[in-house]
């Protein structure tokens, strides 16, 4: 059940395939930029691979991954209802909870597939291209960057899927999900200025804590906060999916 659902997500040219290419292009751009600056000013920029490449690739995959993850996630939530295919999914006799669960798991897999090529090429570039000994990268540093570059897009994709499932309209789902990620979440983070612990449990600080950021909040609590932030929209989406008539 997950495989066919995954196929409906990864088959979308605009969001998934196009998005994957954009992330790949971002990684290649980082490689080209580092090659050029190394060529132009080798003393000041002695490394092409190693730490500079890791920072560049990690940053590009993280940033573009969040945006593309939101597009893919929002459509995973809204597309079937907006397109009218949902009624035919329900008509298969597969329970609605199972359909929703399959879509959620398929989205997780899709985000992995979306980021995998760019991360793989980036890691190869980090390890293979020449770098100064001072810029060498440890396995732990590599793992941290990969973890950050995967978790942030995944979290925002899942939240976007919940929003998409509630709104049932592709355009609205994408717009609201982007607004949530780039406007509402930063604004909510400002709560930290009022009450620090509560502020640390907002999505962005909690995610930051999970991916290596410093905070007074323990990692398990930050993890719980992220789970709640993700589960909230997903459960709202499930509620709508169970209640809706198609």
């Amino acid at each position: 059940m997950i495989r066919p659902t995954l196929r409906t997500i990864t088959g979308r040219r605009g969001s998934f395939r196009g998005g994957g290419l954009v992330i790949l292009a971002g990684v290649f751009l980082v490689i080209v930029v580092l090659l050029v600056v190394n060529e132009l000013r080798p003393v000041r920029n002695p490394s092409i691979g190693g730490q500079p490449m890791l920072d560049g690739v990690g940053g590009v995959v993280w940033a573009l991954g969040i945006v593309i993850g939101i597009l893919v996630g929002a459509l995973a939530g809204s597309y079937d209802v907006a397109q009218g295919t949902m009624r035919y999914l329900v008509l298969t006799g597969v329970g609605r909870v199972r359909l929703y669960a399959a879509r959620t798991i398929a989205l997780v897999a899709a985000i992995g597939l979306l980021l995998l090529p760019a991360l793989a090429i980036g890691i190869v570039a980090v390890l293979v291209l020449p770098s100064d000994p001072n810029d060498e990268v440890t396995v732990g540093e590599l793992a941290d960057v990969v973890w950050t570059a995967v978790v942030w897009p995944l979290v925002f994709a899942l939240i976007a899927m919940g929003i998409g499932s509630v709104l049932r309209s592709n355009g609205a789902a994408i717009a609201i999900s982007l607004l949530f990620a780039f406007a509402a979440s930063p604004i909510l983070t400002l709560i930290g200025a009022w009450k620090e612990t509560l502020g640390d449990l907002m999505l962005l600080p909690a995610l930051d804590r999970l991916t290596g950021g410093e905070s007074s909040v323990a990692i398990p609590l930050a993890s719980l906060a992220v789970v709640v932030w993700v589960a909230g929209p997903l459960l709202l989406g499930l509620g709508r999916h169970l209640r809706d008539e198609y």
Binding site: R7, G11, G84, T85, Y88
Partner: protein
């Protein structure tokens, strides 16, 4: 459940949207291995009832059983061997026809994947299976919708306006295909359509819904036979023929249609009545050039029952 049990049983089904009653107290059974035409004017509740039967919408009151299972409580078991098209078939346009069927086969399971090729073959899309659905015409999507319905080897096919978008030759093929589902496969087909002439050729039974209420349910023959029965005549002296025919006891209505043609409505529709009409005219010296039996078409009966003018009705 036994073969004699109905495949669909509706009992007092009512569906309201706020204060609007879309379906009102509808009760009837659909027998196995039959094709039932589900007819009604636009907005009469046809699609709403279909959605309720398929577990896509909840009834306000009443009960629905499909294949002996209550809907929606046992929808999973009920829909296991039910295929359907509701309003119009929808697909993932960026996948091929075959790719779409593979997605649904993956959800249906239980040998559905092996049915993809035969299903495409059966609906005449074997050569187009590798094209993206966004390149399909409406008629091709309809046929792909039927192919998808076949993936679960359904006992029951519920098809809502399935012949939309088909050209005349496609329509004839489609009609033959639907009949083959019933006659060769032994499936039950519940078909809703605006094309009354098509339904008359496909269906064994008819149910007519009007303003949410079931107003008639029976076989096509019963339905049509209960309508106007008569003969059409072409004579050499229409005026004289009218006065003679109006004097006959079993003639209920004589209608002049111009150019010597008359429509005669009879109390009974047998050979004796036709012979008596001919004899009365000939004995009175009226020449009869042509005589043919006429009976109400399904469309006429439909308009009669739903009490609406032809101009309001779908063709």
């Amino acid at each position: 459940m036994s073969e004699a049990d109905p495949i669909i049983r509706l009992d007092g089904v009512t569906k309201r949207f706020g204060s609007k009653v879309a379906v009102s107290d509808v009760s009837f059974d659909v027998g196995r291995g039959r094709c039932l035409g589900w007819l009604g004017p636009n907005g009469s509740g046809k699609t709403t009832l279909i959605r309720c039967m398929l577990g896509l919408a909840r009834v306000t009151s009443g009960t629905i059983q499909v294949r002996g299972h209550a809907i929606p409580a046992e929808a999973g078991s009920a829909l296991e061997r039910v295929g359907g098209i509701v309003e119009e078939p929808r697909f993932y346009p960026y996948l091929t026809g075959r790719g779409n069927l593979e997605v649904w086969a993956g959800l249906v399971g239980d040998g559905a994947r092996e049915r993809i090729a035969p299903a495409l073959e059966r609906v005449g899309l074997a050569a187009d299976g590798e094209r993206r659905v966004k390149q399909y015409s409406m008629g091709m999507r309809q046929r792909l919708g039927v192919a998808r319905s076949l993936l679960g080897d359904p006992e029951l096919l519920i098809l809502d306006e399935p012949s939309n978008g088909l050209d005349p030759s496609g329509m004839a093929d489609f009609r033959a295909m639907i009949r083959s589902f019933v006659e060769e496969d032994g499936r039950t087909v519940f078909i809703s359509s605006h094309l009354l002439g098509e339904v008359e050729k496909i269906a064994d039974d008819i149910a007519i819904v009007h303003e949410g209420r079931l107003v008639l349910h029976g076989t096509v023959d019963e339905l049509v036979a209960a309508g106007r029965q008569g003969i059409r005549l072409r004579v050499d002296d229409a005026e004289r023929a009218v006065s003679i025919l109006q004097g006959l006891r079993f003639v209920t209505r004589v209608e002049r249609r111009g150019d010597g043609e008359l429509g005669v409505t009879l109390e009974r529709h047998d050979d004796a009545a036709a012979i008596a009409v001919t004899r009365a005219l000939v004995v009175a010296g009226v020449g009869v050039a042509e005589l043919a039996r006429e009976r109400a078409t399904l469309e006429e009966r439909f308009l009669q029952i739903t009490g609406r003018s032809a101009a309001d009705e779908p063709r």
